[in-house]
């Protein structure tokens, strides 16, 4: 057994999991508040990665930045730009595609959501193309801490270790994602707007009677959810250094699986689910089932929905009449 590979893959899984968790938060928040599966959410993430590409190209950033002060400024600019623009994209989508259908039968907003997903994909395809685009990796992907795990041999059970690299970019993504999740929790639990969101999720009409502005609250939920997807798009750009118009579909479906696994509507659950799905994906590839990893993830989705639709942390949802 190689403890080095195990540790390396754990680091990889944590990085991918952080991205899935950020996307899953948007799914779960929107579902929690208006009970809609926002199929376009994965594509908002994809557009976020293209926003990063655009920003870096516009300001002439072409590769790794070694000056720490400049790096911090560029990173802040990347996140601020992608998060704000994606947040606004989310608000616009909600305003024009979902809000008019709030009282329509359930099927209607689901169909517009799929429509919006295709619109986003094809707008990107039209402005860029179907090619795979390289995004300059501002944090040197090779730089990081290298170490080996302790090795031992007990009664013929040998544990070896190859070199492990915890690259800065991986650590940065995981730390940032966790920080964002904590900030989100604090926002939802401690602030007035967060309370408005929670009360709207529980009972929209009662919240309205108590003076909560429902439209603003739902728009705010879309803003935050989409901004987190934008952050995931930046994280994707930092980690992989390339993007394509169709990355949103798979990533979105996997993140949705994460949200369901964690218990849809529950933000802590979504974060846990994101990491779990990433572990399943990374370790199924490690065990030689790379070609099957998607099928495994979606089978988990189906099994969870069938046997435990409330997920790990979720509560029973009543069937909406």
């Amino acid at each position: 057994m190689d403890a080095g590979i195990l540790t390396q893959q754990t680091i990889n899984a944590l990085t991918i999991g952080a991205m899935y968790a950020l996307i899953a938060l948007g799914y779960t928040m929107v579902y929690g508040i208006i009970e809609l599966i926002n199929f376009a959410h994965g594509d908002v993430f994809m557009v976020g990665s293209f926003a990063t590409l655009w920003l870096l190209a516009t300001f002439g950033v072409e590769g790794t930045i070694n000056d720490p002060a400049r790096l911090v400024i560029v990173l802040i600019a990347m996140f601020a730009f992608a998060m704000v623009t994606m947040g606004l994209v989310g608000v616009v989508i909600e305003r024009f595609a979902y809000r008019p259908l709030r009282r329509a039968p359930r099927l209607a907003p689901l169909i517009t959501a799929i429509g919006v997903s295709f619109i986003l994909q094809n707008l990107i395809q039209a402005t860029y193309s179907t090619a795979d685009f390289n995004i300059p990796q501002v944090i040197d992907p090779q730089a990081g801490v290298s170490f080996t795990m302790p090795t031992f041999n007990v009664g013929g059970f040998a544990v070896t270790s190859s070199a492990v690299t915890a690259s800065w970019v991986h650590l940065f993504i995981v730390v940032l994602a966790v920080a964002m999740m904590v900030a989100l929790q604090l926002f939802v639990r401690r602030t007035r707007l967060g309370r408005a969101m929670r009360s709207t999720a529980i009972d929209r009409e009662a919240a309205q009677l108590m003076g909560v502005d429902i439209n603003t609250t739902i728009a705010l939920t879309f803003f935050i959810g989409s901004a987190l997807a934008g952050a995931a798009g930046v994280a994707w750009a930092l980690n992989y250094g390339h993007t394509k118009f169709d990355i949103g579909f798979q990533a979105g479906l996997k993140s949705f699986t994460a949200a369901v696994l964690g218990g849809i509507g529950n933000t802590t659950g979504a974060a846990i689910g994101g990491f779990l799905i990433a572990f399943v994906e990374v370790f199924s590839s490690q065990l030689g089932y790379a070609r099957w990893s998607e099928a495994i993830v979606f089978s988990i989705l189906i099994l969870v929905l069938v046997f435990k639709p409330t997920g790990i942390m979720g509560q029973q949802l009543a069937e909406r009449a």
């Binding site: 259908l101 359930r106 689901l110 429509g115 099928a295 069938v306």
Partner: protein
């Protein structure tokens, strides 16, 4: 809803309305009471006329008759898919986003039944039924555990299933020849002869698919007006109320799923025999999405509407956009003002997306609405009014 209602008009069959509107009220009554016949007569007329319409301008300028008939034979696949998905989405109100999976299952069933790769050579005609049955079986297998779920969970489960099936076909090299797909499928034989359909001539395929569509449509119309069809609509409009009226909602939904899947299986068998090749890349999410767009645009719940919608969309996609590119290219050799050179073909899915959103916002009942569906999809106030009009005489 302002049109005077004829006494024979019990459902929203466009064919029925059309025949009922014929000058002789006796003819109208005859066809009104013999719905299957009206579907078959309607399909026969359409099948007979279409190849000759394309000889007239402006269509004659776009290509020769053989190419058009081949296009129609291809369009038939989408018509079949659309009327099948219409049962699931339009009649029973279940959003199935993995519909292409059953299409793939039908196609691979034929490939396995009649190709040098598997060594089997079962004739095409029985394989049609086998393909439909296998697809229906998978519909039941997927539906049985999942149809108890809330509607939007069902959408995501079917989406997941639609992703898994091509992956399985892609990775099971031993049984499906993996990425390369199964090639050189045997062609159908013209019944009562020993002549094969042949590749150069699309006419046998065209007639075959028209016949399959006519039979499928006649059966679906009968189903729609049967006890089961009424149960589908009841479940769609209010599941709780339907259950309390004694409808077994799970069986009802399961049957919608299986019947929808079997139609998709038919389309799969037919398509694979026509192309003589199946490969996993043919059955991606875009197929499911396109069929959904066809059903929504055609008018969920209206069988003729959905069939016409599928046909028109397919023709626009395969012919119209190409022609548009040509026209725009010849009128504006330097590109359109402002936007420059535009390849309309590349915007196909963007147009579908816009059409889906626009349709849901402005006209959720589709271009050729079913009156029940329209009543359901409009606001509470005017649906109450519409429901009053819907009361049977």
């Amino acid at each position: 809803m302002n049109a005077p209602r004829l006494p024979v008009l019990r459902s929203d069959s466009a064919a029925r309305q059309w025949f009922a509107g014929l000058p002789s009220s006796r003819t109208g009554q005859f066809f009104g009471n013999h719905q299957s016949l009206s579907v078959i007569v309607g399909m026969s007329i359409a099948t007979a006329i279409l190849p000759f319409i394309v000889l007239l301008p402006p269509f004659s300028g776009f290509g020769n008759q053989t190419d058009f008939v081949d296009g129609f034979a291809q369009a038939g696949v989408w018509v079949l898919l659309a009327i099948g998905l219409n049962v699931v989405v339009g009649l029973a109100g279940l959003l199935d986003l993995g519909y292409a999976a059953f299409f793939a299952i039908g196609a691979y069933t034929y490939a396995y039944g009649a190709s040098p790769f598997s060594g089997n050579h079962i004739p095409f005609w029985p394989m049609l039924l086998v393909g439909a049955a296998v697809a229906a079986m998978f519909g039941l297998l997927l539906g049985a555990p999942t149809l108890r779920l809330r509607g939007d969970y069902l959408a995501i489960v079917t989406l997941g299933f639609g992703e898994i099936v091509p992956v399985v076909f892609n990775n099971s090299d031993q049984y499906t020849n993996g990425t390369n797909g199964i090639t050189a499928l045997y062609q159908p034989i013209i019944p009562f002869t020993s002549t094969s359909f042949g590749f150069g001539n699309p006419v046998p395929y065209y007639l075959t698919v028209a016949a399959i569509i006519a039979i499928a449509m006649a059966l679906l119309y009968r189903l729609q007006d049967s006890r089961l069809g009424r149960a589908w609509m009841a479940v769609r409009e209010d599941e709780l109320a339907a259950a309390s009226m004694g409808i077994n909602t799970v069986t009802t939904k399961l049957l919608a799923f299986a019947i929808g899947a079997s139609t998709s299986g038919l389309a799969g068998v037919y398509l694979s025999s026509k192309l003589a090749i199946v490969s996993p890349t043919q059955f991606g999410f875009t197929v499911s999405f396109t069929v959904l767009a066809m059903v929504v645009l055609g008018g969920m719940g209206n069988i003729w509407g959905v069939a016409a919608g599928a046909f028109v969309i397919y023709e626009i996609q395969s012919q119209g956009l190409k022609q548009l590119d040509g026209f725009v290219g010849s009128w504006f050799p330097n590109g359109l003002p402002v936007v420059g050179h535009v390849e309309f073909l590349n915007y196909q899915y963007l147009l579908y997306g816009l059409a889906l959103v626009g349709m849901m916002l402005l006209r959720p009942e589709g271009l050729f609405p079913s009156r029940r569906r329209r009543a359901e999809l409009h606001d509470v106030d005017d649906s109450a009014a519409a429901n009053e009009e819907l009361v049977e005489p």
